[in-house]
Symmetry: C2
Subunit: 209 residues, 2 copies
């Protein structure tokens, strides 16, 4: 299944700015997550296509098209332009596995949604071109409401691995615990490790030897 993966190669994961040494390192992290998402999509039988807000500066193992419009606009255009069904999977789902993505591909409904934590929407599968797309605000609720208003059937996939987008430092704990691809290794190579601080897991960085 055609699977669009929106990606911001310029200033990705800005809420993690303090966690990384500089923007270039932060971009490296974003590219590692992107590679994992593309691999999981492909292993699930999907054909990933990256829709980037700017030309990519590193190798990406999928066709890349550039669309510098807002996320919702670019995604709606990608759905309208392409063959159906089309899935849309966020580029920061570092916990995504082929099994989790297969559950999306296999779900019925005009629209299949996987919620993201914090009211968001991390995966949209569109089986018709007129699926309303809006990632602003409480997007999961809005996607459900808009799709039902349009007379479309909606199915939800209840997946932690698809809900856990990596937005802030606390999310990195789950990357360490649950990622089995490149992102975890990338963090380890950079000197990060999982620690427990007063009973609470956290990710800390130690100088490389």
């Amino acid at each position: 299944m055609r699977t669009v993966v929106p990606f911001d190669p310029r200033d990705p994961k800005s809420r993690l700015a303090e966690f990384f040494a500089d923007a270039e390192e932060r971009r490296g992290f974003a590219y590692a997550m992107l590679a994992d998402v593309l691999g999981a999509v492909r292993d699930a039988g999907g054909d990933p296509v990256v829709v980037a807000t700017a030309p990519v500066s590193r190798p990406v193992d999928a066709p890349v098209t550039v669309d510098d419009r807002a996320l919702s606009t670019a995604v709606a255009a990608a759905i309208a332009d392409g063959p159906l069904p089309t899935a849309v999977v966020m580029a920061d789902l570092a916990l995504a596995t082929p099994d989790a993505i297969r559950r999306v591909f296999a779900a019925s409904g005009d629209v299949v949604l996987a919620p993201g934590s914090g009211g968001g929407t991390n995966v949209v599968l569109a089986r018709t071109a007129d699926v309303p797309v809006s990632y602003h605000g409480v997007s999961f609720r809005d996607h459900v409401t808009a799709a039902e208003r349009a007379g479309l059937t909606v199915t939800t996939v209840d997946s932690f691995r698809l809900a856990a987008d990596v937005d802030d430092a606390s999310d990195l704990v789950d990357v360490f615990v649950h990622n089995t691809r490149r992102t975890r290794e990338w963090l380890i190579a950079g000197g990060w490790r999982l620690a427990v601080d007063d009973g609470t897991p956290t990710v800390v960085r130690e100088p490389n030897d």
Copy 2:
């Protein structure tokens, strides 16, 4: 299936202290979530049993036993004491649905685990009495490792609804978006509502009229 729900009636959800007016209101919130979890367990075909750290001060729709030991100790004892299989479901899983809990009950394996966000473990299903239990630190990783060392088969249920424990104010957004039982109504009755602040969903409180 016998389902143990550990509950702290004295100082629950202490990380939400600043969100509520006082400890009594915070307890009210915890009891609302507990009621939702018990309802979801029962609707999934489970028989809930509350294991509380102290006597409960409000009506609870399930048998209550008091065990004031540490969480891991009390849960291990509850598994060892009771008929098998026994499931253990955290009391703050306000997003839990019967469907999500049924997936746990239906999963095979000596041990079935549902991860909690941040490295935790939110559901344990034990089919043997010697399932190692430790909620400290990176408990999901530790549960998997300890069970495999003990020669037990481990199955994981990938569920956002079971991963999303309610620990801090940002988690309340998901209660508003995804809870369909008592907790959301409890928040609304208390004057809280979902708002969008600069594109980011948040939960705010407004004075009651």
